[in-house]
Structure formats: structure tokens, C-alpha cells
Symmetry: C2
Subunit: 204 residues, 2 copies
DNA sequence: TGTGTTCCATACGGTTGCGTATGGAGTTGT
DNA sequence: ACAACTCCATACGCAACCGTATGGAACACA
């Protein structure tokens, strides 16, 4: 309150420009990962950022606009980004599959955000739609990898689904503080998944 | 407002006694499944039940007490109850395992509640503790079934973990409106899981 | 030095929900 | 009938947020 002349002057060394949408988005991500959708509130975020609501309502129409932005941001980073990265590792689908599992499993901030969005999707329609799209895309990718690895097309869908369910489950467990699944367990899953189709396909 | 003499007289045919804890608990479950922890609020529940807060604060100390009661209730129903039921179906561990999957998968109200509690556990410490206990117990049960079914003890832990992850994933997907995974997919998982250990145990 | 634009502070009204205090209507026992 | 007990209604005070309205400080630019 002594002098308010330097609000911007040294707030950030490299970005002397004042707060922008991105800063609000990042803060929103932290809040989302920490406390779920209900935790991303305008005024708390403002005080965390050291400003007031006035700033928020300059960059966003309202709280819903911020939540929409979160969803859009997530859709990008949760599909194309991951797939591109995995595709860049190797041509071998088995290697790619392993990399996919290890990567999505090792990024330490991802589970919280992902799980928060899943919980959000259970309550909100917009989040639900995004989730369904992302799920479909990722599962299809896993399925394609399995088929490329020589798994029968018939069982590939089932196995891809199961693998993907396990990944979702891992996100959920890690999100509430559970221990991460060991690499050995993932390897076992991949062995079972990439293995030959079981003897009797229909046992009734 | 005409006459308030019959509040109880015909509220419920069989239970003329007025509202009790159980009624509040059920309403809380519905709210939890529908909107998550943040959705279970005293005043909305009251108006849903056709009473006022006065009733609630008679049966419960505060909102936290209601949430605790939910957690306790869930721990009972999510472990012992399920295991007892599964154990009652057969002696064959394979049949039991199948029954476990089909049962936990088919109870249509369970996924919403389970997922809501998982989301809750990501935010709250008490819920987290309950979750960890329940997870450990259920996973140990699956592991025991696998071993009883002849799976090597070495891989049984890994496979039990994977199966359990898939179940959690299923809860998550169903909770936000996703389609239930087909029985065929579950059967495929069981086939892989109950099958022999893969050829090369260490491929590096 | 004026003028416009960008970004934020301040202040306000309104809603929702928590917890408490208190009384009162029914019911039960005697 | 009277007292005691059970269960709920009513009415407050309080806090957290949302969204809006409005002014002002800093900066650019001419």
C-alpha cells in the first residue's frame, strides 16, 4: 500500500506484461488437481495470484468460461500430444505400447488432473462429452497398436479396452494418494495383452 | 398448511415413525452419486426430504458427521458384503472370480457411488484412508482367488492388481455415463488372467 | 501534455449454505 | 391431566462466492 507503481515493473522478470489468461489457466489447473472442479473458484484464485477478481473478469466472461478453457486445454494435451510423443519413440508397436503405458503412468502431475476431470465428468455434461471423445480416441489408438503388434482383431478390441480401463484405474488410484503400480505389474499386463489368444475362445 | 396433524400419520405406510438417520443417509447417498461430495449439502437434502434443517441437526452433529457416516456405511457394503456374497456362489475360485467381476460390474448404483468416493478421496484425508483400506482388502481377495485358481504366486500379485485397476477404471467410466464394458471383454480379461504365465518371464 | 487503451482495485448487491437458538406440536408414560 | 421426551419449524447471524459497476493507475502514442 506504500506505493503501487511497480505492480508490473518486476512481477516477473521475463514477462513484465501483467497477468494474462495463461496465468489464470495455470492457477486453475493447480486448483483443479488439488481440489477438483469445486475447488477452482474465482476469488481464491485471485488471492493466490496476488490480484483481485477485477483481473479475472477482464480476461474471462465468467467462471464457466474458465472451466471451458480448462476442458479445451486438456483435450489437446491429453490426446494429440501424448500420441505424437509415443509415435516418435519407435516404429515397433510393442515398444510404442510400452512407452505409452510408461509415459502416461510416469508424468506425475497428470493423474491428479485426469482424475479430477473424470470426477468432473460424472457431474457435468460438457466435461462428460470431452471425456468420451478423449477416451474413444485413446482406446482406438491402443487397439491399433495391438493389431499392429499382431493381436487378433477379434480380441484386440477387448484387450485394448481392458488396458485402457487399467490406465484409468491407475489415474484414480494415484490421484488419491495410492502407490503407483509397479513396472513389473505393467509388464505383466503387456505380456498377457500381447500374448496369443487363449485356447478356447468361447467357453460359455 | 391446512392441517399439520398428519405429518407422520401417513408419511410411510410401514414406517409411521418420523424421519431417522437412515433416511438422511439414503438421501445423502443419492446426492453423493449424483453430484459428488460437494453435492451433499444439508439444506438441499432437507428440502428433498420435505423437512427443514431442524431435522438434520437433530440426527447429526453437523455435515461432517453425515459424511463420516457415509464413509462408514460404504466400507461395510463395499468389502464384507461383496465378499460374502461372492463366497456364497461356489467353491471354485474361477467361478468366484467371474461372479465378483460380474457382480461388481452389474450393480447399477455402485459405480456412481464408488467413483464419487474415489473423487472424494482425492480431496479429503478421511476418505483417502477408507479407500486405501478397502482397496487393499479387495485386491488381496482377488489375489487369493487367483492363487486358489492355480496362478503362480509370483505373477498373481501383478495380475490381481491389474484386474483391480480395471475394475476401478470401469467404475470411473460408468460413473460419467460411459458404456459398460461388455461381458466379452471381461471374459477376455479373465482368460488372460487365469491363463498360464507367459513364456518368457523376463524379456527386458 | 492530452487521449485512448489495457489491466486491475474497490465497493456493492445477491445467493447459498452452515450452524445455533428456541419454541412448539405430538407422543408416551403415570 | 401433567410432565417428559422426541422430532421438527422458524428465525438469525455469519461466511464464502458470484457477477457487476465504476474509477483509476500505468503505458503507448501522437
Amino acid at each position: 500500500m506504500t506505493s503501487r507503481t511497480q505492480r508490473n515493473t518486476k512481477a516477473k522478470r521475463e514477462a513484465p506484461k501483467s497477468l494474462d489468461r495463461a496465468a489464470w489457466l495455470m492457477a486453475a489447473w493447480r486448483a483443479l488437481a488439488r481440489s477438483g472442479v469445486e475447488g477452482v473458484r474465482v476469488e481464491p484464485l485471485a488471492s493466490e495470484l496476488g490480484v483481485t477478481k477485477g483481473s479475472f473478469y477482464w480476461h474471462f466472461a465468467d467462471r464457466a468460461a474458465l472451466l471451458d478453457a480448462l476442458l479445451e486445454d486438456w483435450e489437446r494435451r491429453a490426446t494429440a500430444a501424448v500420441i505424437d510423443r509415443v509415435d516418435a519413440t519407435s516404429e515397433d508397436p510393442r515398444v510404442r505400447l510400452r512407452e505409452l503405458v510408461h509415459f502416461t503412468t510416469s508424468v506425475s502431475e497428470a493423474p491428479d488432473a485426469e482424475h479430477a476431470i473424470r470426477a468432473w465428468g460424472a457431474v457435468d455434461g460438457a466435461a462428460r462429452k470431452k471425456l468420451d471423445r478423449v477416451d474413444a480416441r485413446r482406446e482406438a489408438y491402443v487397439r491399433a497398436l495391438l493389431i499392429a503388434a499382431g493381436v487378433d482383431e477379434g480380441v484386440a478390441s477387448f484387450r485394448a479396452h481392458v488396458v485402457y480401463l487399467a490406465l484409468i484405474g491407475e489415474y484414480a488410484r494415484v490421484a488419491h494418494g495410492g502407490a503407483r503400480t509397479s513396472l513389473d505389474a505393467w509388464e505383466e499386463l503387456l505380456r498377457m495383452t500381447l500374448g496369443p489368444s487363449s485356447p478356447r475362445a468361447s467357453s460359455a
